[in-house]
């Protein structure tokens, strides 16, 4: 059986809120080491990968591996019933068809208990190669979110180009074009500094609708980490205490003979 306690419900609330626009049904794979989630969006363009290590919970027990098939929209409803500061406990039996959630306030004066019905989700598991990215960017979440939001007003897609000088976000739209260049911060210690590690310059074009959905995870971390290599999906990572929430997005691809895009 599974029993996992978080001191503050806010963490799970934020995580689920962050993924609810990207994926509809997810399997929580619970094991000794923690809870893992991998889910692909319905159009097979974006992928959500979540890891919550067992050390991130104040109490964690899982004797046998359990898969919890969860409809995200339903879990959102139940988590709305929890206050951010409540302690949250997840409980599930080995062969059960439900997940029990309890919320307890800090003075232990109120205990709420909710039950979520589980479902069987037949989902393919994708193997994500653990490779080093050609360009690694770490920047403050709010800066990234603002750029994504601004670009989305002009265009459906953004081109992210990264070299030693900095990272450039640019878009072309019907009303006009725009770009933002972010240079690496001179002193690394600053709050909200940007670091850029470039092995090979990379440039790719990505759908802004998805990137803006990813930005809903901004409340989970100070910084966002972008991992980019040419011709592979970008990784947008938010580090959690003892885990991570990663989003992958497949890039737009130029047709073999479509290099003449600049002449219109």
């Amino acid at each position: 059986m599974l029993e996992a306690k978080l001191n503050e419900a806010a963490l799970l609330k934020k995580i689920i809120d962050a993924i609810k626009d990207s994926v509809t049904d997810v399997n929580f794979e619970c094991s000794e080491t923690g809870i893992d989630v991998q889910a692909v969006d319905s159009s097979h363009i974006a992928l959500v990968s979540l890891k919550l290590g067992s050390d991130g919970f104040s109490d964690y027990r899982c004797d046998r591996n359990i898969t919890l098939g969860i409809k995200v929209a339903s879990l959102v409803k139940i988590l709305r019933c929890a206050n951010d500061r409540d302690a949250l406990t997840l409980m599930a039996d080995d062969n059960g068809d439900q997940l029990r959630l309890t919320f307890e306030d800090s003075k232990s004066e109120r205990v709420s208990e909710f039950v979520l019905k589980l479902m069987t989700i037949d989902q393919e598991h994708l193997g994500i190669p653990d490779t080093k990215y050609e360009s690694d960017i770490t920047m403050p979440v709010d800066a990234f979110q603002k750029i994504m939001r601004d670009m989305f007003m002009l265009s459906e897609s953004v081109k992210i180009s990264c070299d030693k000088e900095g990272v450039k976000f640019s878009c072309k739209g019907d009303v006009g074009d725009g770009s933002v260049l972010i240079k690496p911060s001179s002193s690394v210690d600053d709050e909200g500094s940007t670091t850029i590690a470039v092995e090979t310059p990379v440039s790719m074009e990505l759908n802004l609708k998805y990137l803006n959905n990813f930005c809903k995870a901004s409340g989970l971390a100070q910084n966002v980490h972008l991992g980019m290599s040419s011709e592979v999906p970008i990784m947008v990572e938010y580090l959690l205490p003892n885990g991570y929430l990663r989003f992958y997005l497949a890039p737009k691809i130029g047709d073999e003979d479509e290099e003449d895009e600049d002449d219109d």
Partner: protein, 389 residues
């Protein structure tokens, strides 16, 4: 048309092979579409409220162009890249089926004449109205796509910048080969024959009208073979037993018996042998049953080598479209221009890659502890609908 009872059989024995999903899930996919089948659908289905075909002011039918234009736009809007494949000559073996269709058409024509007479003679009232409705119904049976309509459709697609492929023989076979060769992701046809030709994925209902709200049904060939525990060759034999366009069936063999016979004997030769050995049995092989020829046709259809097919999406010819559709065919200019703009937009937008191109699906068996978990979850009742993943 198609293979009798196959769909039902698949639903029963390998539901895992069938998956229904929305059109937008195919964004970024290239799909080969059986154009002849689609045109036929359009001519039948795209009609005015009173059941009459759409025509321009000269009385020429435009249903096929209307259907082709708007349904193709719908696919393009969803990021699908269609290739249309047109029929060539029908295979000799199909002549029996074609003759039957012709007969049926002539019968319907006769019936229409009769009914029309009835309408003329009849008084105002229920009966006459019914007869009039019957006329429409029978008229639908006489529908066929004329060579002119075929050519107009090709012209329209070319103007739209959509590639076409002319198959030497059956279009669905060519679609399947394109999919098999990896030129496109899937073949789209309503015809289940396409599976015999080895299309890894078959999409049905792709060219249906949006108003029908019909989900697209995606059929995975590998999973069918897995579910039925058959080889490709055995699956073809099964389809011949079920009844296809090319040969008669054995009287008294329905889907269930066909599957049972195939499982027991493994091939048509053995089944025929078995039936002939038991003359007392109810089953009788038709005389001159050309199953070997049919099988040869299904196994190695007459198709173009996929590498020689030039599949390229181009910019639409806006003025050409306006000329053709508006001036010749009486379409509304605003709508045609709006449609052309939608095509333009999709050409400009860089195609979106899909994750499966980068991340490989992990085999479930090898996937650490997943399998044990899967078994456990099987016991659970789905709380709501089963997820369509």
């Amino acid at each position: 048309m198609g293979i009798k009872g196959l769909n039902k059989l698949l639903m029963e024995h390998c539901p895992a092979a069938l998956r229904s999903s929305e059109i937008k899930n195919f964004g970024g996919r290239k799909v080969a579409i059986d154009a002849s089948m689609s045109l036929y659908q359009f001519v039948i289905a795209v009609r005015q409220a009173d059941g009459q075909q759409l025509t321009n002011e000269n009385g020429e039918t435009t249903s096929h162009l209307m259907g082709m234009f708007y349904r193709t736009l719908r696919m393009v809007d969803n990021g699908i890249k269609p290739v249309y494949v047109f029929d060539g000559k029908p295979p000799v073996l199909k002549s029996g089926e074609l003759a039957k269709r012709k007969e049926r058409r002539e019968e319907a024509l006769k019936k229409i004449e009769e009914l029309k007479q009835q309408v003329e003679d009849g008084e105002e009232g229920e009966e006459t109205k019914e007869a009039q409705e019957d006329v429409t119904r029978f008229e639908k049976r006489t529908v066929r796509v004329t060579p002119e309509q075929n050519d107009e459709a090709k012209k329209l697609l070319t103007l739209m910048g959509i590639p076409i492929v002319e198959a030497p023989c059956e279009a669905e076979a060519q679609c399947a080969k394109l999919a098999e060769a990896g030129k496109v992701y899937a073949a789209a046809s309503e015809d289940m024959d396409t599976l015999c030709f080895g299309s890894p994925v078959l999409l049905r209902h792709l060219t249906f009208s949006e108003a029908k709200k019909m989900p697209i049904s995606e059929i995975n060939f590998a999973k069918i073979l897995e579910g039925l525990e058959m080889t490709h060759a055995q699956f073809i034999d099964l389809c011949i037993l079920l009844g296809c366009d090319y040969a008669d069936t054995i009287r008294g063999v329905g889907p269930q018996t066909a599957l049972k016979l195939m499982k027991e004997h493994g091939s048509l030769e053995k089944i025929v042998e078995h039936i002939e050995k038991n003359p007392s049995g109810k089953l009788k092989v038709p005389e001159n049953w050309p199953y070997q020829e049919v099988r040869a046709l299904l196994q190695a259809p007459d198709v173009l080598d996929s590498s020689s097919c030039d599949i390229k999406w181009n910019n639409p010819d806006v003025e050409g479209l306006v000329d053709f559709l508006v001036r010749d065919k009486g379409f509304s200019e605003d709508r045609v221009r709006a449609g052309a703009a939608r095509l333009m937009k999709q050409v400009k937008v860089k195609p979106q890659a899909r994750l499966d191109g980068f991340f490989k699906v992990m085999p479930k068996e090898g996937g650490e502890k997943r399998k044990a978990d899967d078994k456990k979850t099987k016991g659970k009742k789905p709380a709501t609908k089963k997820a369509k993943k």
